[in-house]
Amino acid sequence: MAKTITEINEKIRKGRAVVVTAEEVIDIAREKGVRKAAEEIDVVTTGTFSPMCGSGAFLNIGHSKPRIKLGGGKVYLNDVPVYTGIAAVDVFIGATALPDDDPRNKFYPGEFNYGGGYVMQELVSGKDIRLTAAAFGTDCYPRKKLETLINIKDINEAILFNVRNAYQNYNVAVNLSDKVRYTYMGVLKPNLGNANYCSAGQLSPLLNDPYYKTIGVGTRIFLGGGTGYVAWHGTQHSPTALRGDNGVPRQGAGTLAVIGDLKQMKPEWLVGTSMLGYGCTLTVGIGVPIPILSEEIFRYTTVSDAGIMAPIVDYSEAYPQREPDIVAEVSYAELRSGHIKVQGKDVPTSSLSSYPKAVEIASILKQRIEEGEFLLTEPVAPLPGVESGISFKPLKERPIS
């Protein structure tokens, strides 16, 4: 039955491609059987909508008259500091950047109501952004101060470049201590008061292609409402993570670095986000199409929440102290039931990743493919797989002298 991406694209162009979401495919495979369904279906679309701190954007502001060298200077967008250690008028805004005068956790837990993620969302929504800059002045860039409004439609480039998104599986966070913990996994109530998880599970891109057989460098994707590409494997990519019999990682494993034109994106798919007591970030919408090139690739897309396990980790002690201890393992089907049993206790569950939005992304991508607007790409290089031996290394500290 082997198909090629060229053949699938031909069908997409003719409006004849059979496209289903990673949620729909589960029942279809159950009803028709894997072999028959694999022959009929051309593309399975995935989606995820989750806080992703490894997000940011490069902006080329344009040259003022007289010129100013922002590179190496200090630049703020709506009072949020941006990175300037690159070319004269390029800056990088990171999702977790905070205004200098944000009290952080001085008033614990800090609220982190504004930061880089929010600036990015406002920029995408077409709002004017306040730029203030101080530079040292050179012969060719004499200006030392700049205060101006900028707008995404006027600046030269706005490139979203996220170094770590779309984590293939993730920890389930609990708190075994007797006081509240404010974490990047949300507010964790004491004594196993709740369990927070963060994955689209059966809809999540890399959980539907666990061995990266179709997703690679150059894969065209839905990114923040627009079109983007997989740029590289993401930071902390760890293909050698523990896997189940179905090949699906049982802990955080692969990640994606993604790139796209921020100018085409939409504020409903790039959402400024605040984690109480932890910081500010950006919630990113990503959808990846999986071409059904073989029965094996198809079988992976039929994974359901019941077949995806995640480790429960204590964020009061084990996580901060980098201890490897796992409290227990649990499936996403159990997590989505609203309650799990941990150490004999009934623990209510909450998600930080929005399942309804993941469904929406997979459906939008499906529609774009069905309407012939979105063609699939052949990866130009694979992501490092299990055979690469790459794993996520801890920092080994060494004394400086």
Partner: protein
Amino acid sequence: MNVSRRIVLHFPPNMTGQPVVCRLVKDFGLTFNIIRASVSPGQEGLLVLELSGERKNYDKGIKYLTETGIEIQSLSQDVVRDEVKCTHCGACITICPTEAFVLEPKTRKVLFDHHRCVVCGLCVKACPPRAMILYF
């Protein structure tokens, strides 16, 4: 005409032993829903009620409460959800002490049951996209 208002009652210490709410029902035909209560004998008490009934009975009930020496405040605080900002992630579900957030099983959307909300405000800061707003 019927009215339904959320009110906050502050009981002086000497009043906490009296069946005040019971009289609102019996004498004035009003119905009530207790939103929050903190009443200990001999101490100052607090009761947040949603009080409903016919307009003239409601006014009589309020007059009665005032005469007993209870201090009445209208509950001007309210928690509402910004439907545009909410991403339906579900982070609020386990934070809310009164289970005012419920997952709709089929769509997995988070439903906010305003009637269960006791305006404690815990969800406001725990909401990642800051979609819950406390109004004064």
